[in-house]
């Protein structure tokens, strides 16, 4: 993104009626809203086995037998996976890719919107396709597809054949990582959680070497030590990889084969780096069933009994927000201070670049509300999507549907 | 000889009682300690309510289905366990000894009744022993150790019974009675007899898993 400055931050309210779409079409699927809030789109059914994408009331030129995976793109356009004549392809703002596949899925987009990636299957062979360029090499099986922020792609691929229920071949290790279609040399029993560095050139992943030994591989080179378990590794720098590993029954944070944090936890995952300050945060269980956040191996003064689903840093690293569930209700904790939302659902929070403002959409008893810094500032929507702060942080863009009308609102904060 | 008798009738009684009580207590503490150290998570599934619910359900005679499927064994076993405690505690001659040494006394069982009940315990033990030989599934599970355990319980009751009736070798019987009783007390914390304290714990845990977590009954 990064082009928010060019958006309209002055018009208080823009409306697009969407209820009438339901009369125009046989049915209307789930709404997708562009980041700038200027467009609302949905897959619509126009005839028996004829689907189109409707954007602000205008339909794309072509109708398809099937459409799914409609996504709003960072450039405010829309893309969807479309099927016609027994072939699948991707359509971006109505324009189709040239590539045709037997199936496509796992639609990923880089944050800048420059690269669109998909998993594909053609003639029972599997690969990834990025910006209409499919991998040269394809494989009999594929999992864990990952698109880096710079548009490189990787997946776990099956490097050797295996007959049905052949546990002996499996034991030998059949899986490799393919980067941009080319498989690395080593095969492993299991590979999970591919993780790119910021450049998209280096790759780390978790492996299982045998029934009991887990470790981390960086660019196909495995750490010397093995562990009882491993979760997703993360590049701390282009040269250093962090990973939560389980040793002597406790989860610990290791860096490049060596202990990094001193403490062991009952659980440790979702390693999240502060972009600016170099802090390392993770979701941890201090003891069984007692969840909190650890920053640089020090735990927050917050205990939740159910789950911490994710943690998010502000761009300047000054603010860390955790989405957590305690006693059956969802809430947000910002820099250790829990809010008082107690929601049925809570969506991904948006944090202003300086970390001073945190906005989040919640759902309570079927209605959507927007909370900023623990205060509900807009409510009773039927649907709301992720809010965006204006570059000067004085305003917030609220995008939601209320009584059949899509409303783009600018509110002051 | 007198010194020996003095010892086993005096200090040894207290020593064995202490080993029995503190042995079980220490065992209990060690179990809790080990759970806390190695499997602390188990405690998060335990509730007092469901622990007691399960223990109580299993204390009601013939309430659990399992006990109704083998009523004779269960009935004998139920009575046996009650008598195992009632008899020694309420036996007149035991109370007299307590009175002499600690000046403590409480109502005693009538001697005639105690006599019959002792016989009942002996018969129950004989029954257990026979069952271990005759019921195929129990026999499969039985080892020499199980017969030894029965023998250990049997000895104090048989010797007590014989001593009371002064059938033969009265003094030797008394000595054998005291020794076997003390031995039984001492062995309890170190043998499967420690189910005295472990069984309520396992029952409480299973009762909690069934009741609290799985919303089901365990009897």
């Amino acid at each position: 993104m990064g082009n928010e400055a060019s958006w309209d931050w002055n018009t208080d309210l823009k409306e697009i009626p969407v209820e009438e779409w339901k009369e125009r079409f046989n049915w209307v699927e789930d709404f997708q809203i562009s980041p700038d809030g200027e467009s609302v789109a949905s897959i619509v059914n126009v005839d028996e086995t004829a689907f189109q994408v409707c954007v602000n009331g205008e339909v794309w030129d072509n109708a398809y037998e099937k459409i799914w995976g409609l996504k709003a793109l960072p450039d405010n356009g829309f893309s969807a996976l479309v099927y016609d004549g027994e072939e699948w392809t991707l359509a971006r703002d109505g324009e189709e890719w040239s590539g045709r596949f037997d199936f496509i899925w796992d639609f990923q987009v880089t944050p800048d919107g420059k690269y669109l990636g998909l998993a594909f299957q053609k003639d029972s062979e599997y690969g990834m396709v990025v910006n209409d360029l499919p991998w040269d090499q394809t494989y009999t099986n594929m999992a864990g597809m990952t698109l880096s922020d710079t548009g490189t792609s990787a997946a776990v691929v099956q490097a050797a054949p295996m007959k049905a229920a052949d546990v002996d071949s499996f034991k030998e290790g059949l899986f490799s990582v393919a980067l941009n279609g080319t498989a690395f040399d080593h095969t492993f029993l299991n590979i999970w959680d591919l993780s790119f560095d910021a450049t998209g050139r280096r790759l780390a992943w978790g492996v299982r070497l045998n029934r009991e030994a887990y470790t981390v591989a960086r660019d196909d080179i495995v750490w010397d030590r093995t562990f009882q378990g491993v979760w997703k590794p993360v590049f701390l720098t282009p040269e250093n990889v962090l990973a939560p590993v389980r040793e002597s029954g406790k989860w610990k944070l290791f860096r490049d084969n060596e202990p990094f944090w001193k403490r062991g936890y009952d659980q440790l995952w979702k390693i999240t780096l502060s972009p600016a300050k170099g802090d390392i945060a993770a979701v941890v269980a201090d003891s069984f069933g007692k969840w909190t956040v650890a920053v640089n191996d020090r735990t927050w003064d917050l205990t939740c009994d159910t789950m911490i689903s994710d943690i998010f840093y502000s761009a300047d690293g000054s603010c860390l927000a955790a989405v957590f569930k305690h006693k059956g209700l969802w809430n947000l904790s910002v820099n250790q201070t829990p809010w008082t939302l107690f929601a049925d659902k809570i969506f991904t929070p948006g944090i202003s670049p300086d970390g001073s403002l945190v906005a989040v959409v919640i759902e309570k008893q079927g209605k959507y509300h927007l909370a900023v810094n623990n205060r509900i500032i807009a409510g009773d929507y039927d649907f709301l999507t992720a809010p965006v702060f204006s570059p000067d942080q004085s305003k917030i863009l609220v995008k939601g549907i209320e009584k059949g009308i899509y409303k783009r609102r600018i509110l002051s904060v | 000889m007198n010194a020996f008798i003095g010892f086993i009738m005096g200090p040894m009684v207290w020593i064995s009682a202490m080993i029995f009580i503190f042995g079980l207590l220490i065992k209990f503490i060690f179990i809790i300690k080990e759970v806390r150290e190695k499997e602390q998570y188990l405690l998060s599934y335990m509730t007092v309510r469901h622990s007691l619910r399960s223990i109580c359900a299993w204390l009601i005679p013939f309430y659990p289905r399992s006990t109704r499927l083998r009523p004779v064994y269960y009935g004998v076993s139920y009575l046996f366990h009650i008598l195992l405690f009632v008899l020694p505690v309420f036996l007149f001659s035991h109370i007299v000894l307590m009175d002499q040494s600690l000046n403590l006394s409480w109502p005693a069982l009538h001697d005639g009744a105690a006599d019959i009940l002792t016989l009942a315990v002996i018969l129950a033990l004989v029954f257990f022993s026979l069952r271990r030989r005759l019921e195929p599934d129990v026999r499969f599970l039985t080892s020499v150790k199980d017969h030894l355990l029965i023998l250990m319980v049997l000895l104090p009751f048989v010797t007590g019974f014989l001593a009371y009736h002064q059938v033969f070798l009265y003094e030797w019987m008394v000595i054998a009675h005291v020794l076997s009783g003390e031995f039984l007390l001492i062995i309890i914390p170190f043998s499967r007899f420690s189910h005295m304290i472990t069984a309520p714990l396992t029952r409480a845990y299973t009762g909690s898993e069934f009741g609290h977590v799985r919303h089901a009954k365990d009897w």
């Binding site: 034991k171 069933g289 | 396992t202």
Partner: protein, 446 residues
């Protein structure tokens, strides 16, 4: 010597077990056994071993014991004796023949149904002991082939049956199209962020029984639910690793499952009629990850149907008239106390119901559960022999239709019915509901 003590020589039927045994050294055997029995267990295990008085009250709990003319070897405590006690006595120095027998006992002569812990006066959890044996076998790499293959599949694809990612989505889209024969605007909404419900199934549904997804979609649509299904791995709620003692993979499966639901921001997860998957998501997988309970509520189909019927979201057009009986799946009755709710659904949908006895928590296992059926074809004959008690129980009902709200039970009971010529039809509760429901869309206040 007791004639029962004579060692049973186990036949070499399973290639994976045999090859695994070949690879083992005696050092490795004792190392793994001692590691599992002493390092991975604690006071609970010791208490179970020390507390058992060898009384045999557990025998009557076991359908293997009952099906085999009360053969003492099948008593639950006897299974512990033939495995754990011996391993402890010998300090892990056991022979390969012993291990072959131990693999068999733990994987094929016990459904880990936990009925025996209801028959033991001390509540000793013998299923836990058998799962410890399975964990030892897992580490020694002597787990039976077919169930190991399901765990291999889980570890790679996060589903049990090597269902490829495109096949999964394609199947959902195909069922959605079929479902439009009932309701022209029916949808199986994929990846719908913020739906109330994530509907989840086990891998055999897309693989062999896609019609069940169709039925579920019709029920969801008619009831007017705000629901979704994930297109990405995490859709399969089954967990065979839980039954082979591969606790690490079991945890990874559970994490993928719950994080998929958390990413979709759903309030709860409704699952199809599967018992072991319920056990895994409700009670087991979460523990491996330090979640005390399922972090997102898991609702079994029984609870869900009951909710739809009592809320009037689904109404019954005409009750099912054939004589039906109900099998209580272990993992949702003993495992969750849903047996009475299941009866209420039957009462609301069927006019002629006959009880199977014993029932509710005291039900006999179908004989397929706990991973037994997943050990595959080499063991089917034996499984049928071991399911005689269940067959007798079924026959005694005289019912035409057997309702079994669990996948494993369903398959196991089908086998029993064929083998013992019982002339019964097995149905899911969902089948009955689908057949008897009014195919109209719920509108509040109507």
């Amino acid at each position: 010597m007791n004639e029962n003590d004579a060692e049973i020589i186990e036949e070499a039927t399973d290639e994976a077990v045999e090859k695994g045994l070949e690879r083992l050294t005696s050092e490795r055997i004792s190392e793994v056994i001692n590691q599992v029995l002493h390092k991975e267990t604690g006071a609970r295990f010791k208490a179970y071993v020390d507390t058992c008085m060898r009384c045999g009250l557990c025998s009557d709990a076991c359908s293997y014991f009952l099906s085999n003319d009360r053969d003492p070897r099948f008593s639950p405590a006897a299974k512990v004796k033939q495995t754990i006690w011996e391993m402890l006595d010998k300090k892990g120095k056991v022979s390969k023949d012993f291990l072959r027998r131990a693999v068999h006992i733990a994987h094929l002569e016990c459904n880990v149904c936990r009925r025996c812990s209801m028959y033991c006066p001390f509540g000793i959890d013998m299923a836990y002991m058998m799962l410890l044996v399975r964990r030892i076998c897992h580490k020694l790499e002597i787990t039976p082939q077919y169930i190991q293959d399901t765990v291999n599949s889980h570890s790679v694809t996060m589903n049990q049956m090597w269902v490829k990612e495109d096949e999964w989505i394609d199947t959902l889209q195909w069922q959605e199209e079929d479902g439009r024969e009932e309701f022209e605007d029916l949808r199986i909404p994929l990846d719908k962020q913020g739906a109330d419900i994530m509907y989840s199934v086990i891998a055999p549904e897309p693989k062999f029984q896609a019609g069940l997804i169709y039925q579920a979609a019709v029920i969801m649509h008619a009831a007017g639910m705000n629901w979704t299904m994930p297109s990405r791995p995490g859709w399969d709620n089954s967990n065979m690793a839980m039954f082979t003692g591969d606790n690490e993979i079991s945890g990874r499966i559970a994490r993928t499952f719950f994080e998929t639901a958390a990413k979709l921001n759903v309030k709860r997860i409704v699952m199809g009629e599967c018992g072991h998957a319920f056990r895994s998501t409700y009670d087991v997988g979460n523990r491996q990850l330090a979640w005390t309970m399922a972090p997102i509520e898991v609702v079994h189909a029984i609870e869900f149907y009951h909710e739809l019927l009592t809320a009037g979201r689904i109404t019954i057009k005409e009750k099912f008239s054939k004589k039906v009986t109900l099998h209580d799946p272990c993992n949702v009755s003993r495992g969750r106390g849903l047996h009475d709710m299941a009866r209420k659904i039957v009462a609301m949908t069927c006019s002629d119901f006959v009880e199977m006895t014993p029932n509710r928590e005291h039900n006999l296992c179908c004989g397929a559960g706990g991973g037994v059926i997943n050990c595959g074809p080499p063991y089917k004959k034996e499984r049928m022999r071991n399911n005689r008690a269940k067959a007798e129980q079924l026959a005694a009902t005289g019912a035409e239709v057997l309702i079994a709200p669990c996948h494993n039970c369903h398959s196991g009971l089908e086998d029993i019915i064929h083998h013992y010529n019982l002339n019964m039809e097995v149905k899911f509760l969902g089948d009955v509901l689908f057949e008897t429901m009014e195919k109209k869309i719920y509108r509040p206040g109507e």
